[in-house]
Symmetry: C2
Amino acid sequence: VSEEKLAAAQARFDSQAKPVGSLGRLEEFGSRFVAITGKDKVAGKRVYTFAGDHGVTAEGVSAFPQEVTPQMVFNFVDGGASINALARHAGAEVLVVDMGVATDFEDMDGLIKRKIAKGTANFAEGPAMTQEQAIQALLTGVEMARQAKADGIDLVGTGDMGIGNTTPSAAIAACICRLPVEQVTHRGTGIDDEGLARKILAISKGLEVNQPNPQDAVDVLAKVGGFEIGGIAGLILGCAAEGIPVVVDGFISTAGALIASELHPNVRDYIFAAHKSVEIGHHHMLHKIGQQPMLDLGLRLGEGTGGAVAMTLIEAGLQVLRDVLTFDQAGVSEGADQ
Amino acid sequence: VSEEKLAAAQARFDSQAKPVGSLGRLEEFGSRFVAITGKDKVAGKRVYTFAGDHGVTAEGVSAFPQEVTPQMVFNFVDGGASINALARHAGAEVLVVDMGVATDFEDMDGLIKRKIAKGTANFAEGPAMTQEQAIQALLTGVEMARQAKADGIDLVGTGDMGIGNTTPSAAIAACICRLPVEQVTHRGTGIDDEGLARKILAISKGLEVNQPNPQDAVDVLAKVGGFEIGGIAGLILGCAAEGIPVVVDGFISTAGALIASELHPNVRDYIFAAHKSVEIGHHHMLHKIGQQPMLDLGLRLGEGTGGAVAMTLIEAGLQVLRDVLTFDQAGVSEGADQ
């Protein structure tokens, strides 16, 4: 991230015929994009939706059956899901990455097959995955960032699909943010009070049984994480390495961002936090990575949906940066605050 | 507004392959648009930016000189202002209405000449305008809504330009919300502490001298309002009458919406509150008209800028409504909450 380009973009906003700073966060979004990419226009947008299954669903932590994960993968590939609609709205492409769905897929356009295993193990009883698998998940995400760069993509969004995946995300939040499980665990796709109690118990057991080391993010990912969460973390690391701004969707994506930012604090400079999720643990993670959400729309879907919408706000900021004339150019008198 | 169409749109969202309500307010925006228009796609978007000058600037209430109002009108017409950039981003047209700028304009494309007077009178000393002028301002706004309907526009945004116009807006807020002037008066384009004290004093004097009747919104508009605020109020009334959803921008636009909703409470059903302004009085007015802002981006510019951005969120909701397959269509198993 170039401090010089950041300052130049902000100076351009400041010189435009409007009160200084009066477009608020739109100016922040535009300036940050310029600081990262050196460009004032988005050339290509892509959402990576990582899919994986979770052994911890055996604990009865989700309102939906596990078969929904592959069903939704088909829906993504066919273009009929919420992320497809919102990516279409944003002018972004959607690619789905099978990180560890408990079903084998045929080759399909739009599906990238990188299955590490057919779902994680139940972390309430032992590690969700091995350290090697965790690293493989991270590297797969890094590979996607590299491919995005090669394809001329300069704005990437993260997305997730995996029945049960708010459970590992809450476990990661509790561990790394060092918070009581109850403070970061919520209803996911819509479990009832009994389900919520089971979910809190499963996470508590998982943290007790596995003792993940909060200072070792790979250990946390391996012991209580998920394959798609590792993919997201790797994508974010890779985007930072490639100089691509990355829009992080909601609760699950932010668990990935938390892993990534623990592995290298500088990745935070490349992250745009798309929105404030309904999940109660979300703001704790955002606080830990030092990001303010761009939107607050009561979203709790995942897939990358909030990220797709947030991309349009970055482009709004850039449109202002490019198009708005300065006081001088427009022949407008400056104010006492200029 | 059709309760039946609202319910049908929400039922469609509920049947889509995602947890019920998981796209939060995007579903609300989409459903409300359908309930108002009966359509699930926006055919034409237009922002009306109403311009007017304010005699109360003689009290030293703004950081900018009054000459900036006509200078910005030229900037709007030339396409170089913030509202032009953000309307371009949203795919909306911008029309500027001269409601009462203290300068005569030649005919220009994109400028609608409806000057009521060359600026209001200084309301710290007497009424800002006559009752007849207030009604003329309202009717001009209604005329714009009618024209929008005739032109096939089905999503309208409100905008304002007028040096000094946070002062009448705060006066309207104080009067109709019955709040102390200090609680609704803020820094506008960026006045310092002394300027803020002068602004509070001017509004207090205006309310004392004119004694506007809080239960008579036309009286409030005439005594402490502005021509562009009247235009905005009329536009909102007209949009409600014509069945056009209207996106209300920030502080000044919401003062217009407050006038409109006092004149007829049903107009609230047609209002989308675009964003939460930095101005401290804004949320009191939004509360009074029963609206939650769609965005919170630290905006404090006006012109219609926040409204243009908010239009894109309504379209995001509609894209979901149109494109996302149901559980049945997508072959996805439903959850325990369905």
